[in-house]
Symmetry: D2
Subunit: 350 residues, 4 copies
């Protein structure tokens, strides 16, 4: 099989570096272009901060291009642009007939833009037909959620299917890499907790309802799950921990909750997609797990599984801890998996 | 006024050092004895780790005594003993006619032992009469809650009074000093979150119901507030942050919740007790406060006020963040304030 | 005595906040103006980050002014401007007849600009006469050293006087506050050491030779001490630690070195200047001191003493550890002490 | 080739876990026994803290044995016992005819015990013949240095060979994992530097002289290099950074120093030993490298290369930074490489 040529829009940031790492030796996709802003014209290796492991040689030597569909030759693109840049540039690619798979926030909540977690709502990808019709585009935009939403909805999904979730109260403890580079000042966060991340709680609350929604007659009907989120920044490097409380419609026990989480597999696992972890949710039985630093890279594809632990149940209320890698499952990896799904559904061929 | 002579049981630990600091120059109490275990016979300054600011000279030179009422000459004692040591020693002092004010967990949940937060349930101190009768003691034991409970119940109290609290879901982010010294290994917590503290969640849940209980006919009737707690350890030094969600019986708005918290004063403020902060709750309006490192010492008596921020209200649900100093308001300071209250109520004179 | 009116140039940064704190209730100086750049026209309290303790009310309400001698009414100014801004603005004040006391790097190494550590080279202040003549200024510029230089030269001074220092090899471990706000990204420094601070080693090496120099015929003759510095950034908040090795001309023993350090007092102590610590150097005898977090605020004026420990001597080689507060003794406090000295020498009256 | 059966003495600690990881799939050695103390009789997986990645299944299920040559069946053993336990147990194995490769400190400085860094002094292994004769043992003890010594002597070696080193002044910044588990309390080290590690400086100074010594007539003649070490503990997890200053006999330039370090290979590389990194020293040219968190796992065998950077030269003085993995090159990996060398020299066959 000839590989798809892929460009990464906004490739010089932290998520961009994870795309490059995860796409290296990818069986279907090959990175052929990288775009940036201030660094246009530089070699990629000079455009990124030298702190991550050095990129492979052929990537390191690539010239950073402007984020412009006329300058970028690719079958489709991954976008990890900042919100405002995404708002401006992503439609230009879609209009030019180039599918965009984006973890940027700009178009996530648009009515005709799918917001995908491949295990949860693969069928929402079909929204792109409506999107093309609405907008007269040859290409399309597919989005993936905020990193914090991902770590919430993945463990909620099997519970929602099995027991019906009515209400969720969640407090997050998010790593500094979630704010990008330079992001959070060391003076602000060392030995400290900042209980606020601008805009984050609203994203978690609304994205969850959209992801759990039902596609009907080319329209997405939001789920009526209630989510109350409190998002905090903590002095960890990678990995978002979430303390989750749910109220279910059906009766639950610790055993049925554990079983639902442990046995959960979905379309990406059934299709054996290259970036799909064999188990999207790993349940730890030790009393003090998951822990951010220890469990962040969990999964048969490292960083693609969400780790769940401390399951406690009273009546129809469950509490548990979730941990997910914000840059992998919550960004680059989740979006790559979405594109793999799109390929399987024939959406890359058109 | 002649000062009461006071002994500190278990004085060599971190809470003990805070007792000494807070009692230095206290208008009513004077430290005259310090007890320990392995360090008996040493000078106090050699028994404590040298990391805290050096104690005042007359304290530094005191000999550490065994925790034995026959060896300790004091009008009453403060106990910050480990649980098992408290279980054994505190009754010996009470029996010997020496009142014990303890932040140890051993007797907190006994039926005839008051569990006091001076602003919330000062009247519970009257339980000591029943306790003395039950147990035939000349002295008595008065306890104060777990540090995490304190940071929860103080901001809940004005809401409970004004709006009736039905249910509380709380996730805590607790500093390492809460585990004492040496406590948490640096290898375990640096750049990490551990979402588990043994026994802590049960303490928070049951102590809250007792503190909010009503004393009737010398019996304590627990409040029926439901508390669901998740306790985590984070890499901060001092100060427990709590992300709190409450459901109230009466209608609330952000304004009424803020007002109830800001205007809250109680008996210790009215009596102008020496260790009472002028405002037990400080409400911050900035979007990103309280923060652990910045707000931990809040209050007109440093560390005695709880800081609340990020108040959000929907229908009869409120979310907010609380921050309290676990070693001061949550331990030494809270217990000193309790003894001051006991003095006012004549309970030290008998 | 009528207080001098004082402006702080570049007042909204971290050093500026320390000036304000240290000058509050100062017996001789009164802050009457604050300058900034982007924040001109705002209230001071809105111009600074809210992380530090709130400034006193009359300071909080001051309007931030442009850094322009025509807009600022003051008897003299303290400057904590960034280097380039200092290069441009400080001469304008000096020319306008307003003495400038600066911890900025811009003019430190100019031939006719004194670089002062009040205990070491108070006589160098006399260079301002030559400076005024050279430049035709009514005012003048007096500078204080880089924060890392201060923590080195203070403990070196008594050794230099007593034993003659030939060569110094120093490795520093510098706190993140030394880089200002936002300064070092949390992603860069958490759990990490960065063994490089741009330009810092050269500053330490050349400033030391100037500070130890001799003023002769209005010319400064540099000392010929050799300094080899390696500067690293470490994940601490405040306080620069330095591991120092010196080779002396005269014979030394642990006792003579300790005595020279402990007995060291100089002009500021003799004059009892308001910001002078009673002992500029505190020697700790414990094997594991000084420690950054514990000893950073040492001194009768907190943060103004340098703490020295781990003194080891072989032949004419001594090793020891120094710790100093980079924002206080190394910046705001050191410069205030310099202005106090200037007042005593009559240099503020003219 | 039949693999040697290997026991790990003191296998439940942090270094033990690294032995297991590095020996898994080793071409020559196979772990067949694990010993411990409090955990004797438990499964290995229950004896170690669950924080490291889980050991492979067949190791996880092994029963922890007592550290007793009668209970342990192995061709040779690796020892990572605490010093006192090593002093007692290692000779029992040697006497029982079982070679001991140890990173414990107990016998490092004994006259007839080799102290090996395979690249530097492979010939010192021949000392075991004298040792066996002296002690009447069928087996023998071979030791490897303190982790901090390793990170110093490896980059010094090519400079010593090429330019002659007279004097070394070194300040170390050592990670908390060097103190084992639980080791350093989080309260002691978070946001702090502790400039003292008991006994460490003496080890670095004396071990260096032994490692650089010459074996002559079965006697080891120490090198006369002078080393002045200052060892500090910093809040990093893994990786010891060292700030090194050397005075050489011959003239040096930045280029000749860099070349000597970059071109350095030795016996393990020539023999292509399984655990030998292709380059024992990696030189970084960026101004701000090596960094602890980024470079700790450097090397073609991860963690086996020492990274050097910030090379600065004046006259015959060089300064540079070294970074090495204290648990891999400085412990488990260095000792495994030593046993591989012993195998090549026929010392395992006898």
């Amino acid at each position: 099989m000839k590989k798809y040529s892929v460009a990464i829009l906004g490739a010089t940031g932290m998520v961009g570096q994870h795309y490059i790492k995860m796409l290296y030796n990818h069986p279907w996709f090959k990175v052929t272009a990288l775009t940036g802003k201030e660094s246009v014209g530089k070699k990629y290796v000079e455009a990124v901060r030298g702190e991550a492991p050095a990129p492979p040689k052929e990537i390191a030597e690539m010239e950073v291009l402007p984020t412009d569909p006329k300058k970028v030759d690719a079958d489709f693109v991954f976008s990890c642009l900042p919100t405002e840049a995404a708002r401006e540039s992503e439609p230009l690619f879609a209009k030019a007939g180039i599918p965009v798979f984006s973890d940027a926030a700009a178009y996530r909540m648009e009515e005709d833009v799918p917001l995908i977690v491949p295990e949860i709502n693969p069928d929402h990808l079909n929204l792109v037909k409506q999107q093309r019709k609405n907008r007269g585009w040859d290409g399309y935009i597919v989005t993936t959620p905020n990193c914090t939403t991902v770590g919430l909805v993945l463990p909620l999904h099997p519970l929602h299917i099995n027991f019906g979730i009515k209400r969720v109260i969640v407090t997050t403890m998010q790593a500094v890499s979630g704010a990008g580079y330079p992001g959070v000042a060391s003076l602000s966060i060392m030995g400290n907790i900042i209980p606020y991340i601008s805009g984050e709680e609203k994203k978690v609350e609304t994205e969850t309802a959209k992801i759990f929604g039902r596609l009907h007659d080319n329209h997405l009907h939001y789920d009526d799950v209630e989510v109350f989120a409190t998002c905090t920044r903590v002095p960890t490097l990678d990995g978002h921990m979430e303390s989750i409380y749910v109220e279910t419609e059906k009766k639950i026990t610790p055993e049925t909750v554990t079983q639902a989480l442990e046995e959960y597999v979905s379309v990406p696992q059934e299709l054996n997609l290259p970036t799909a972890p064999s188990k999207p949710i790993i349940v730890r039985k030790e009393p003090d797990r998951p822990q951010t630093r220890i469990d962040v890279d969990a999964g048969s594809v490292p960083g693609m599984a969400v780790t769940v632990g401390r399951i406690r149940v009273e009546d129809n209320r469950a509490r548990f801890i979730s941990l997910s890698h914000n840059l992998i499952r919550g960004a680059a990896g989740g979006t790559i998996l979405t594109a793999e799904l799109a390929h399987h559904m024939g959406l890359l061929e058109e």
